[in-house]
């Protein structure tokens, strides 16, 4: 990007293309380009290298580098931390649940997993495999049973065992399905009869386009999300949709998924994210 030696209309087009291709969307791109034009005018920029620096700065600003991205997942006094993992179908919730368990086990924490996807074929088996792989117990229920009761049981097990963290995996559901969103709200309420949910992670696939914004809005309304996990960032997609999600909802991206193995989970780093877009 900006590898030629002059600044002209083509440069602006190149910048706009880069942002659009990263799934920043039309309003996000337009707004960022406006800020760049203002700075270029005010600062009298004419060299592409300086332009590139400014673009990097402005893109970094729009990702809000000072946001608090801490995970509130550990025991607080009498209650284990309770993490609820939510999102639409196929984004990587179950895999992320397993990776999160691995992260905590590596820090010597006691973890229980709740297989509250009682609907999809072999969902609890999949989470069981993850539990076995990373060395944590998994609470399951019969297929087709009430997800809220499995969630409840997993939190009860976490309290009973004086664990540090309970991570509850839920079924993928499209935000447009009112019945399923109601069910998710109920899962959260039922858990909170015993212990507060300390972290609600919305799992977003990095390949998602503008629909990611709608997903986040609805999930935020129904279960009040506290963090985003951006998965499959090891692919070619840039995940630019999170820029508008963070801005509009004030919810930080806390983690990124970088592969299918237990260790492929990292803390979200604004600089790395920005460099991947403009490099």
């Amino acid at each position: 990007l900006l590898s030629r030696d002059k600044l002209d209309d083509e440069t602006w087009e190149e910048i706009e293309d880069t942002l659009l291709l990263a799934d920043l969307g039309v309003p996000g791109t337009t707004e960022l380009v406006e800020r760049l034009r203002t700075r270029v005018k005010v600062e009298g920029v004419s060299d592409p290298e300086r332009m590139r620096q400014i673009l990097r700065e402005e893109l970094l600003t729009s990702v809000n580098p000072d946001m608090d991205r801490d995970l509130d997942v550990l025991r607080n006094g009498r209650d284990p931390g309770v993490v609820l993992v939510v999102g639409v179908n196929g984004t990587g919730k179950t895999t992320t649940t397993g990776k999160l368990a691995r992260l905590l086990v590596a820090e010597d924490k006691d973890v229980v997993l709740g297989a509250a996807d009682t609907f999809r074929a072999a969902a609890s088996e999949q989470l069981q495999t993850w539990g076995d792989r990373v060395g944590v117990p998994v609470v399951r229920g019969p297929e087709g049973s009430d997800p809220a009761s499995v969630a409840f049981d997993s939190v009860a097990a976490g309290i009973e065992g004086e664990c540090d963290t309970v991570v509850v995996d839920t079924a993928g559901r499209l935000h447009t399905k009112v019945g399923l969103m109601d069910e998710l709200g109920k899962v959260k309420r039922v858990i909170e009869k015993q212990a507060p949910v300390t972290e609600v992670l919305l799992v977003l696939d990095a390949t998602t386009g503008q629909n990611g914004m709608t997903q986040a809005r609805v999930f935020a309304e129904v279960v009040d999300i506290t963090g985003i996990v951006l998965t499959k960032l090891d692919g070619t997609a840039k995940g630019g949709i999170v820029v508008s999600v963070q801005r509009e909802l004030g919810v930080p991206v806390k983690l990124v998924g970088l592969g299918e193995g237990p260790d492929d989970l990292a803390v979200f780093e604004p600089e790395t994210f920005v460099d991947a877009i403009i490099d």
């Binding site: 291709l21 969307g25 039309v26 499209l174 447009t176 696939d205 629909n211």
Partner: protein, 295 residues
């Protein structure tokens, strides 16, 4: 909707008489934004808008009573032409079994689709065989077995998966199994993979070379954004596919990916998946898709 946006653009032009090229450019700009909002990939938007501009400069618009509506009509026609151009049915082999290979990114909906396709073909009088060739995702073999049970289609799962077994070997053996047990259709489920994962793309190509599929279907999530182009082009270059299935159309994603994928590969979308149940499966409707993208 695009119709509203263009009507607004044209409000300022009333009584101006002939449309200038600038007027057309402003209109095409609105179309470009509408398509990008709908997640159509940028290179496809460019090519599409160039084509629309070409037509918009012609007499069909300059002599139209309602130029805005005429341009919307052009956009709709061009969209349907691309989306529906080569639309066709599933191709069966002259000599059975017909081999269908499913491919795509992680989580696109392949395993679920395998069941739907099997159920649909069985209801049409075929004897399909499902093949569990995803030996890597945890319990993918179990998932396919359950999916197969739900539509009462047998599943060939000689390897347990979870890291054990070779997909190329399973595919080969599945073909022999189908010939032996007289299944006229073989549907092979494979592991989701990134288009830039060389090893896994080589593996998928090897599966194809081993069994020579009659149809390789790229399964694409309707909510995918700009990455649709990279994915489609790389899968086509590295493995090759014959048709596309668009999934999760029961959501409210605009689905611009449909135009992106067909636009860059020329391959037709054959089916639409519209839910998680086996019956949530239908032929792809280009006109409905066009309406959804322009909405």
């Amino acid at each position: 909707s695009l119709s509203d946006r263009l009507t607004n653009t044209f409000k300022g032009l009333r009584g101006k008489g002939r449309l200038s090229e600038q007027d057309i450019d402003n209109t095409v700009r609105e179309i470009r934004m509408a398509l990008l909002d709908a997640d159509v990939a940028l290179p496809v938007v460019r090519a599409f808008c160039a084509r629309v501009k070409e037509r918009a400069l012609g007499s069909e618009v300059s002599e139209a009573l309602n130029p805005a509506q005429q341009i919307v009509k052009i956009v709709n026609e061009e969209l349907i032409a691309i989306l529906g151009g080569d639309t066709r049915r599933l191709r069966f082999a002259k000599n059975p079994p017909t081999i269908i290979l499913l491919a795509g990114l992680q989580g696109a909906g392949k395993t679920t689709l395998a069941g739907k396709l099997a159920g649909h073909l069985k209801s049409q009088g075929h004897q399909p065989l499902l093949v569990a060739a995803d030996l890597q995702r945890p319990n993918a073999v179990d998932q396919l077995q359950i999916v197969g049970e739900r539509v009462q289609v047998p599943v060939f799962a000689p390897e347990p998966g979870n890291g054990i077994g070779d997909p190329v070997d399973v595919a080969r053996r599945a073909k022999s199994e189908a010939e032996l047990k007289l299944h006229d259709i073989v549907i092979i489920d494979t592991a989701g993979r990134l288009a830039i994962d060389e090893d896994l793309m080589n593996q998928l190509r090897s599966v194809g070379e081993a069994v020579q599929p009659d149809e390789t279907l790229l399964v694409v999530d309707a909510m995918i954004g700009q990455d649709a182009v990279n994915t489609a082009v790389l899968f086509d270059q590295q493995v090759g596919f014959d048709g596309v299935v668009l999934t999760k159309l029961d959501g409210d994603a605009r689905g611009g990916a449909a135009l992106s994928v067909v636009g860059v590969t020329g391959k037709p979308i054959l089916f639409a998946s519209t839910g998680e149940k086996p019956e949530d499966f239908e032929a792809f409707h280009p006109d409905r898709m066009a309406g959804r993208i322009l909405d």
